[in-house]
Protein backbone atom coordinates (compact mmCIF):
# COMPACT_ATOMS: atom_id res chain seq x y z
CA UNK A 1 0.00 0.00 0.00
CA UNK A 2 2.12 2.75 -1.23
CA UNK A 3 1.87 6.03 0.56
CA UNK A 4 1.46 8.18 -2.54
CA UNK A 5 -0.88 5.90 -4.49
CA UNK A 6 -4.44 7.07 -4.67
CA UNK A 7 -6.50 3.96 -5.21
CA UNK A 8 -6.82 2.96 -1.57
CA UNK A 9 -7.80 6.47 -0.54
CA UNK A 10 -10.54 6.47 -3.17
CA UNK A 11 -11.60 3.02 -2.05
CA UNK A 12 -11.79 4.22 1.55
CA UNK A 13 -13.86 7.23 0.52
CA UNK A 14 -16.26 5.11 -1.55
CA UNK A 15 -16.70 2.60 1.25
CA UNK A 16 -17.38 5.29 3.83
CA UNK A 17 -19.87 7.08 1.56
CA UNK A 18 -21.57 3.80 0.76
CA UNK A 19 -21.75 2.77 4.41
CA UNK A 20 -23.15 6.15 5.45
CA UNK A 21 -25.89 6.10 2.81
CA UNK A 22 -26.71 2.44 3.26
CA UNK A 23 -26.39 2.82 7.00
CA UNK A 24 -29.22 5.33 7.04
CA UNK A 25 -31.43 3.80 4.41
CA UNK A 26 -31.19 0.03 4.74
CA UNK A 27 -33.68 -1.88 6.80
CA UNK A 28 -32.49 -3.07 10.18
CA UNK A 29 -33.88 -5.73 12.48
CA UNK A 30 -36.57 -4.61 14.90
CA UNK A 31 -34.93 -4.25 18.29
CA UNK A 32 -36.36 -3.04 21.57
CA UNK A 33 -34.82 -0.04 23.38
CA UNK A 34 -32.02 0.41 20.85
CA UNK A 35 -34.54 0.87 18.02
CA UNK A 36 -33.14 2.75 15.07
CA UNK A 37 -29.97 3.71 16.93
CA UNK A 38 -28.62 0.26 16.01
CA UNK A 39 -27.49 2.09 12.88
CA UNK A 40 -24.76 3.59 15.06
CA UNK A 41 -23.04 0.25 14.69
CA UNK A 42 -21.83 1.47 11.31
CA UNK A 43 -20.32 4.65 12.74
CA UNK A 44 -19.32 4.06 16.34
CA UNK A 45 -17.67 0.65 16.08
CA UNK A 46 -15.43 1.41 13.06
CA UNK A 47 -13.87 4.24 15.09
CA UNK A 48 -12.47 1.66 17.50
CA UNK A 49 -11.24 -0.61 14.75
CA UNK A 50 -9.43 2.29 13.11
CA UNK A 51 -7.91 3.29 16.43
CA UNK A 52 -6.63 -0.22 17.09
CA UNK A 53 -5.17 -0.52 13.58
CA UNK A 54 -3.47 2.87 13.88
CA UNK A 55 -1.97 1.98 17.26
CA UNK A 56 -0.72 -1.30 15.80
CA UNK A 57 0.90 0.62 12.94
CA UNK A 58 2.56 2.82 15.54
CA UNK A 59 4.00 -0.19 17.39
CA UNK A 60 5.24 -1.61 14.11
CA UNK A 61 7.15 1.58 13.37
CA UNK A 62 8.40 1.83 16.95
CA UNK A 63 9.99 -1.60 16.58
CA UNK A 64 11.40 -0.54 13.24
CA UNK A 65 12.80 2.70 14.64
CA UNK A 66 14.53 0.84 17.49
CA UNK A 67 16.31 -1.32 14.93
CA UNK A 68 17.03 1.30 12.29
CA UNK A 69 17.47 4.50 14.35
CA UNK A 70 15.82 6.25 11.43
CA UNK A 71 14.01 9.46 12.50
CA UNK A 72 11.41 8.88 9.76
CA UNK A 73 10.24 5.70 11.50
CA UNK A 74 9.92 7.56 14.76
CA UNK A 75 7.76 10.24 13.12
CA UNK A 76 5.59 7.55 11.57
CA UNK A 77 5.09 6.02 15.00
CA UNK A 78 4.07 9.27 16.67
CA UNK A 79 1.83 10.46 13.86
CA UNK A 80 -0.08 7.19 13.76
CA UNK A 81 -0.61 7.58 17.50
CA UNK A 82 -1.91 11.10 16.87
CA UNK A 83 -4.34 9.83 14.24
CA UNK A 84 -5.33 6.92 16.48
CA UNK A 85 -6.08 9.28 19.37
CA UNK A 86 -8.42 11.31 17.12
CA UNK A 87 -10.36 8.13 16.34
CA UNK A 88 -10.30 6.99 19.95
CA UNK A 89 -11.78 10.28 21.13
CA UNK A 90 -14.45 10.13 18.41
CA UNK A 91 -15.22 6.56 19.48
CA UNK A 92 -15.58 7.57 23.12
CA UNK A 93 -17.81 10.55 22.43
CA UNK A 94 -20.06 8.76 19.94
CA UNK A 95 -20.24 5.90 22.43
CA UNK A 96 -21.24 8.28 25.20
CA UNK A 97 -24.03 9.78 23.07
CA UNK A 98 -25.30 6.35 22.14
CA UNK A 99 -25.11 5.18 25.74
CA UNK A 100 -27.04 8.23 26.93
CA UNK A 101 -30.04 7.26 24.84
CA UNK A 102 -29.98 3.50 25.28
CA UNK A 103 -28.45 2.83 28.69
CA UNK A 104 -29.68 6.10 30.17
CA UNK A 105 -26.31 7.53 31.19
CA UNK A 106 -23.52 8.96 29.10
CA UNK A 107 -20.92 7.25 31.28
CA UNK A 108 -22.40 4.13 32.75
CA UNK A 109 -19.13 2.66 34.04
CA UNK A 110 -19.34 -0.12 31.56
CA UNK A 111 -16.08 -2.09 31.45
CA UNK A 112 -15.47 -1.47 27.78
CA UNK A 113 -16.04 2.25 28.18
CA UNK A 114 -13.65 2.44 31.11
CA UNK A 115 -10.94 0.34 29.54
CA UNK A 116 -11.12 2.20 26.25
CA UNK A 117 -10.66 5.43 28.18
CA UNK A 118 -7.63 3.95 29.95
CA UNK A 119 -6.18 2.79 26.63
CA UNK A 120 -6.39 6.35 25.35
CA UNK A 121 -4.76 7.57 28.58
CA UNK A 122 -1.91 5.17 27.83
CA UNK A 123 -1.25 6.91 24.55
CA UNK A 124 -1.57 10.33 26.15
CA UNK A 125 1.16 9.17 28.53
CA UNK A 126 3.22 8.24 25.47
CA UNK A 127 2.79 11.74 24.06
CA UNK A 128 3.64 13.33 27.42
CA UNK A 129 6.77 11.19 27.60
CA UNK A 130 7.81 12.45 24.19
CA UNK A 131 7.37 16.05 25.28
CA UNK A 132 9.50 15.45 28.36
CA UNK A 133 12.61 14.59 26.37
CA UNK A 134 14.41 17.25 24.38
CA UNK A 135 17.09 15.39 22.56
CA UNK A 136 15.69 13.91 19.35
CA UNK A 137 17.46 10.57 19.24
CA UNK A 138 16.91 9.76 22.88
CA UNK A 139 13.27 10.76 22.53
CA UNK A 140 12.85 8.39 19.62
CA UNK A 141 14.44 5.50 21.46
CA UNK A 142 12.80 5.89 24.86
CA UNK A 143 9.32 6.58 23.52
CA UNK A 144 9.58 3.63 21.15
CA UNK A 145 10.45 1.42 24.11
CA UNK A 146 7.49 2.69 26.11
CA UNK A 147 5.18 2.22 23.13
CA UNK A 148 6.21 -1.41 22.64
CA UNK A 149 6.08 -2.06 26.38
CA UNK A 150 2.56 -0.66 26.64
CA UNK A 151 1.09 -2.45 23.64
CA UNK A 152 0.58 -5.93 25.18
CA UNK A 153 -1.10 -4.23 28.13
CA UNK A 154 -3.45 -2.43 25.76
CA UNK A 155 -4.33 -5.74 24.12
CA UNK A 156 -5.12 -7.23 27.53
CA UNK A 157 -7.14 -4.13 28.40
CA UNK A 158 -9.26 -4.06 25.27
CA UNK A 159 -9.62 -7.72 24.36
CA UNK A 160 -9.13 -9.90 27.43
CA UNK A 161 -10.43 -8.03 30.47
CA UNK A 162 -13.89 -7.16 29.07
CA UNK A 163 -14.53 -10.87 28.58
CA UNK A 164 -13.99 -11.54 32.26
CA UNK A 165 -16.70 -9.22 33.50
CA UNK A 166 -20.26 -8.29 32.72
CA UNK A 167 -20.76 -5.56 30.23
CA UNK A 168 -23.62 -3.68 28.66
CA UNK A 169 -21.90 -4.13 25.32
CA UNK A 170 -22.99 -7.14 23.30
CA UNK A 171 -20.64 -10.09 23.22
CA UNK A 172 -19.37 -9.70 26.79
CA UNK A 173 -20.28 -11.36 30.04
CA UNK A 174 -23.91 -12.40 30.15
CA UNK A 175 -24.93 -10.43 27.10
CA UNK A 176 -25.91 -12.07 23.85
CA UNK A 177 -23.19 -12.04 21.25
CA UNK A 178 -22.74 -9.50 18.58
CA UNK A 179 -24.33 -11.97 16.20
CA UNK A 180 -27.69 -11.47 17.84
CA UNK A 181 -27.88 -8.12 16.05
CA UNK A 182 -25.78 -9.13 13.19
CA UNK A 183 -27.74 -12.16 12.13
CA UNK A 184 -29.28 -9.94 9.52
CA UNK A 185 -26.93 -10.43 6.60
CA UNK A 186 -27.86 -7.02 5.24
CA UNK A 187 -26.39 -5.37 8.32
CA UNK A 188 -23.21 -7.28 7.78
CA UNK A 189 -23.05 -6.00 4.22
CA UNK A 190 -22.89 -2.47 5.58
CA UNK A 191 -20.88 -3.10 8.70
CA UNK A 192 -17.82 -4.75 7.16
CA UNK A 193 -17.38 -2.17 4.36
CA UNK A 194 -17.84 0.57 6.99
CA UNK A 195 -15.01 -0.85 9.09
CA UNK A 196 -12.67 -1.26 6.13
CA UNK A 197 -13.57 2.21 4.84
CA UNK A 198 -12.93 3.97 8.14
CA UNK A 199 -9.68 2.07 8.63
CA UNK A 200 -8.52 3.28 5.22
CA UNK A 201 -9.59 6.84 6.05
CA UNK A 202 -7.65 6.55 9.31
CA UNK A 203 -4.56 5.44 7.41
CA UNK A 204 -5.03 8.38 5.07
CA UNK A 205 -5.18 10.83 7.97
CA UNK A 206 -2.05 9.29 9.47
CA UNK A 207 -0.43 9.52 6.06
CA UNK A 208 -1.20 13.23 5.72
CA UNK A 209 0.01 13.93 9.25
CA UNK A 210 3.25 12.10 8.57
CA UNK A 211 3.92 13.89 5.29
CA UNK A 212 3.21 17.25 6.87
CA UNK A 213 5.55 16.54 9.75
CA UNK A 214 8.19 15.35 7.33
CA UNK A 215 7.93 18.60 5.37
CA UNK A 216 8.15 20.65 8.57
CA UNK A 217 11.27 18.78 9.59
CA UNK A 218 12.93 19.30 6.23
CA UNK A 219 12.13 23.00 6.33
CA UNK A 220 13.60 23.30 9.79
CA UNK A 221 16.84 21.57 8.92
CA UNK A 222 17.44 23.78 5.91
Amino acid sequence: MSMYKNWWKVLGAILVIYSTVAGFLMKTPELPIIRESIRNLYFHVPMWFSMIILFSISVFYSIKSLRSNDPADDIKAVESVNAGVIFGLLGIVTGAIWAKFTWGQAWSFDVKQNFAAIAILLYFAYLVLRNAIDEEQRRAKISAIYNIFAFPIMVVLLFVLPRLSDSLHPGNGGNPGFNAYDLDSRMRMVFYPACLGWILIGCWIYNLLYRLRDLERNKLSK
Binding site: A132, R138, L164
Partner: protein
Protein backbone atom coordinates in the same frame (compact mmCIF):
# COMPACT_ATOMS: atom_id res chain seq x y z
CA UNK B 1 30.94 -14.51 34.12
CA UNK B 2 27.81 -16.15 32.84
CA UNK B 3 24.36 -14.66 33.15
CA UNK B 4 23.17 -16.60 36.19
CA UNK B 5 26.26 -15.72 38.16
CA UNK B 6 25.99 -12.04 37.23
CA UNK B 7 22.38 -12.00 38.34
CA UNK B 8 23.30 -13.62 41.64
CA UNK B 9 26.05 -11.06 42.29
CA UNK B 10 23.85 -8.13 41.39
CA UNK B 11 21.03 -9.31 43.67
CA UNK B 12 23.56 -9.76 46.44
CA UNK B 13 24.78 -6.22 45.85
CA UNK B 14 21.26 -4.82 46.06
CA UNK B 15 20.50 -6.78 49.21
CA UNK B 16 23.74 -5.63 50.80
CA UNK B 17 23.08 -1.99 49.95
CA UNK B 18 19.55 -2.28 51.29
CA UNK B 19 20.73 -4.05 54.42
CA UNK B 20 23.21 -1.28 55.19
CA UNK B 21 20.81 1.62 54.87
CA UNK B 22 17.47 -0.16 55.30
CA UNK B 23 16.08 2.90 53.57
CA UNK B 24 13.50 1.31 51.29
CA UNK B 25 12.21 -1.21 53.75
CA UNK B 26 11.89 1.16 56.69
CA UNK B 27 10.73 4.11 54.63
CA UNK B 28 8.03 2.25 52.80
CA UNK B 29 6.93 0.35 55.88
CA UNK B 30 6.56 3.62 57.73
CA UNK B 31 4.61 4.97 54.78
CA UNK B 32 2.27 1.96 54.73
CA UNK B 33 1.76 1.96 58.47
CA UNK B 34 1.00 5.65 58.65
CA UNK B 35 -1.36 5.52 55.65
CA UNK B 36 -3.25 2.59 57.13
CA UNK B 37 -3.50 4.45 60.38
CA UNK B 38 -4.74 7.63 58.70
CA UNK B 39 -7.35 5.58 56.87
CA UNK B 40 -8.36 3.92 60.11
CA UNK B 41 -8.85 7.26 61.77
CA UNK B 42 -10.69 8.90 58.88
CA UNK B 43 -13.09 6.11 57.94
CA UNK B 44 -15.68 5.66 60.64
CA UNK B 45 -17.30 2.57 59.19
CA UNK B 46 -16.52 0.78 55.98
CA UNK B 47 -17.66 -2.32 54.23
CA UNK B 48 -15.30 -5.03 53.18
CA UNK B 49 -15.29 -4.18 49.47
CA UNK B 50 -14.03 -0.68 50.19
CA UNK B 51 -11.44 -2.00 52.60
CA UNK B 52 -10.15 -4.40 49.97
CA UNK B 53 -9.87 -1.69 47.32
CA UNK B 54 -8.23 0.59 49.86
CA UNK B 55 -5.59 -2.02 50.64
CA UNK B 56 -4.61 -2.26 47.00
CA UNK B 57 -4.51 1.48 46.53
CA UNK B 58 -2.21 1.82 49.54
CA UNK B 59 -0.01 -0.98 48.17
CA UNK B 60 0.01 0.68 44.75
CA UNK B 61 1.48 3.90 46.08
CA UNK B 62 3.84 2.07 48.41
CA UNK B 63 5.20 -0.02 45.56
CA UNK B 64 5.60 2.98 43.27
CA UNK B 65 7.73 4.57 45.98
CA UNK B 66 9.68 1.43 46.72
CA UNK B 67 10.34 0.28 43.19
CA UNK B 68 10.93 3.62 41.51
CA UNK B 69 14.04 4.10 43.59
CA UNK B 70 15.69 1.13 41.86
CA UNK B 71 16.66 3.19 38.85
CA UNK B 72 15.77 6.75 39.74
CA UNK B 73 18.02 6.96 42.76
CA UNK B 74 21.10 5.44 41.24
CA UNK B 75 23.77 8.00 40.55
CA UNK B 76 25.08 8.47 37.06
CA UNK B 77 28.50 7.23 38.11
CA UNK B 78 27.22 4.02 39.57
CA UNK B 79 25.15 3.36 36.45
CA UNK B 80 28.19 3.72 34.25
CA UNK B 81 30.17 1.42 36.55
CA UNK B 82 27.50 -1.29 36.47
CA UNK B 83 27.26 -0.88 32.73
CA UNK B 84 30.91 -1.76 32.32
CA UNK B 85 30.85 -4.88 34.48
CA UNK B 86 27.44 -6.45 33.88
CA UNK B 87 25.23 -7.24 30.93
CA UNK B 88 21.96 -5.32 30.67
CA UNK B 89 20.04 -8.59 30.73
CA UNK B 90 21.53 -9.52 34.09
CA UNK B 91 20.78 -6.04 35.38
CA UNK B 92 17.07 -5.96 34.53
CA UNK B 93 16.49 -9.53 35.72
CA UNK B 94 18.32 -8.97 38.99
CA UNK B 95 16.53 -5.68 39.65
CA UNK B 96 13.17 -7.27 38.97
CA UNK B 97 13.88 -10.24 41.22
CA UNK B 98 15.16 -8.01 43.98
CA UNK B 99 12.15 -5.71 43.71
CA UNK B 100 9.79 -8.68 43.69
CA UNK B 101 11.40 -9.99 46.88
CA UNK B 102 11.23 -6.57 48.52
CA UNK B 103 7.60 -6.08 47.52
CA UNK B 104 6.58 -9.53 48.70
CA UNK B 105 8.07 -8.91 52.14
CA UNK B 106 6.44 -5.48 52.26
CA UNK B 107 3.05 -6.76 51.13
CA UNK B 108 2.98 -9.57 53.66
CA UNK B 109 3.89 -7.20 56.50
CA UNK B 110 1.40 -4.61 55.30
CA UNK B 111 -1.35 -7.21 54.99
CA UNK B 112 -0.69 -8.42 58.52
CA UNK B 113 -0.86 -4.89 59.85
CA UNK B 114 -3.99 -4.17 57.83
CA UNK B 115 -5.77 -7.23 59.18
CA UNK B 116 -4.70 -6.24 62.69
CA UNK B 117 -5.93 -2.63 62.45
CA UNK B 118 -9.12 -3.07 60.47
CA UNK B 119 -10.07 -6.48 61.79
CA UNK B 120 -10.27 -7.43 58.16
CA UNK B 121 -10.42 -11.17 57.83
CA UNK B 122 -10.80 -12.65 54.35
CA UNK B 123 -12.73 -15.91 54.31
CA UNK B 124 -10.02 -17.59 52.27
CA UNK B 125 -6.76 -16.27 53.67
CA UNK B 126 -4.66 -18.67 51.58
CA UNK B 127 -6.05 -17.38 48.31
CA UNK B 128 -5.71 -13.80 49.54
CA UNK B 129 -2.04 -14.43 50.26
CA UNK B 130 -1.56 -15.89 46.78
CA UNK B 131 -3.22 -12.82 45.31
CA UNK B 132 -1.07 -10.53 47.43
CA UNK B 133 2.11 -12.28 46.31
CA UNK B 134 1.03 -12.23 42.66
CA UNK B 135 0.15 -8.56 43.06
CA UNK B 136 3.54 -7.66 44.44
CA UNK B 137 5.18 -9.65 41.66
CA UNK B 138 3.21 -7.77 38.99
CA UNK B 139 3.83 -4.40 40.61
CA UNK B 140 7.55 -5.04 40.67
CA UNK B 141 7.87 -6.34 37.10
CA UNK B 142 5.92 -3.42 35.66
CA UNK B 143 7.33 -0.66 37.85
CA UNK B 144 10.94 -1.79 37.41
CA UNK B 145 10.77 -1.35 33.67
CA UNK B 146 8.77 1.88 33.86
CA UNK B 147 11.22 3.34 36.37
CA UNK B 148 14.06 2.47 33.99
CA UNK B 149 12.23 4.32 31.20
CA UNK B 150 11.45 7.28 33.45
CA UNK B 151 15.01 7.54 34.72
CA UNK B 152 16.37 7.52 31.17
CA UNK B 153 13.87 10.18 30.18
CA UNK B 154 15.38 12.48 32.74
CA UNK B 155 12.66 13.88 34.98
CA UNK B 156 11.87 11.23 37.49
CA UNK B 157 8.94 11.08 39.85
CA UNK B 158 6.26 12.91 37.91
CA UNK B 159 6.84 10.93 34.73
CA UNK B 160 6.94 7.68 36.69
CA UNK B 161 3.37 8.20 37.88
CA UNK B 162 2.06 9.26 34.48
CA UNK B 163 3.67 6.36 32.67
CA UNK B 164 2.84 3.64 35.14
CA UNK B 165 -0.80 4.31 36.02
CA UNK B 166 -2.39 3.36 32.71
CA UNK B 167 -0.25 0.24 32.60
CA UNK B 168 -0.97 -0.89 36.14
CA UNK B 169 -4.75 -0.36 36.01
CA UNK B 170 -5.55 -3.66 34.25
CA UNK B 171 -3.47 -5.54 36.82
CA UNK B 172 -5.20 -3.67 39.63
CA UNK B 173 -8.64 -4.50 38.25
CA UNK B 174 -7.83 -8.21 38.09
CA UNK B 175 -6.24 -8.13 41.54
CA UNK B 176 -9.21 -6.47 43.17
CA UNK B 177 -11.53 -9.00 41.55
CA UNK B 178 -9.36 -11.91 42.67
CA UNK B 179 -9.06 -10.67 46.25
CA UNK B 180 -12.79 -10.04 46.39
CA UNK B 181 -13.33 -13.67 45.50
CA UNK B 182 -10.94 -14.59 48.30
CA UNK B 183 -12.76 -12.35 50.75
CA UNK B 184 -16.12 -13.85 49.96
CA UNK B 185 -14.61 -17.31 50.27
CA UNK B 186 -15.73 -18.42 46.84
CA UNK B 187 -14.62 -21.77 45.56
CA UNK B 188 -11.03 -21.55 44.38
CA UNK B 189 -11.81 -22.87 40.92
CA UNK B 190 -13.76 -19.65 40.26
CA UNK B 191 -10.57 -17.61 40.60
CA UNK B 192 -8.41 -19.68 38.27
CA UNK B 193 -9.12 -17.34 35.35
CA UNK B 194 -7.80 -14.33 37.23
CA UNK B 195 -4.71 -16.14 38.51
CA UNK B 196 -3.95 -17.35 34.98
CA UNK B 197 -4.43 -13.88 33.55
CA UNK B 198 -2.09 -12.35 36.15
CA UNK B 199 0.55 -14.96 35.37
CA UNK B 200 0.19 -14.29 31.65
CA UNK B 201 0.48 -10.53 32.15
CA UNK B 202 3.62 -11.06 34.24
CA UNK B 203 5.17 -13.37 31.67
CA UNK B 204 4.37 -10.89 28.89
CA UNK B 205 5.74 -7.91 30.78
CA UNK B 206 8.85 -9.80 31.82
CA UNK B 207 9.65 -11.01 28.31
CA UNK B 208 9.00 -7.60 26.75
CA UNK B 209 11.24 -5.91 29.32
CA UNK B 210 14.02 -8.44 28.78
CA UNK B 211 13.79 -7.81 25.05
CA UNK B 212 13.66 -4.02 25.33
CA UNK B 213 15.96 -3.20 28.22
CA UNK B 214 19.23 -3.71 26.29
CA UNK B 215 18.09 -1.01 23.85
CA UNK B 216 17.25 1.32 26.70
CA UNK B 217 20.42 0.74 28.65
CA UNK B 218 23.07 1.46 26.04
CA UNK B 219 23.35 5.17 25.48
Amino acid sequence: MNLAEQIKHLIKKELLLEWRSKYALNGVLLYVVSTVFVCFLSFVSTDKVTLNALFWIIMLFASINAVSKSFLQESRGRQVYIYTIASPLALIISKTIYNALLMMVLTVIALGFYILVFDFGPEDLGLYMVAALLGSLSFSTIFTMVSAIASKAGNGGMLMAILSFPIIIPVLVVLIKLTKNAMDGLDRSVSLDEIGLLLIINALVMSVSVLLFPYLWRD
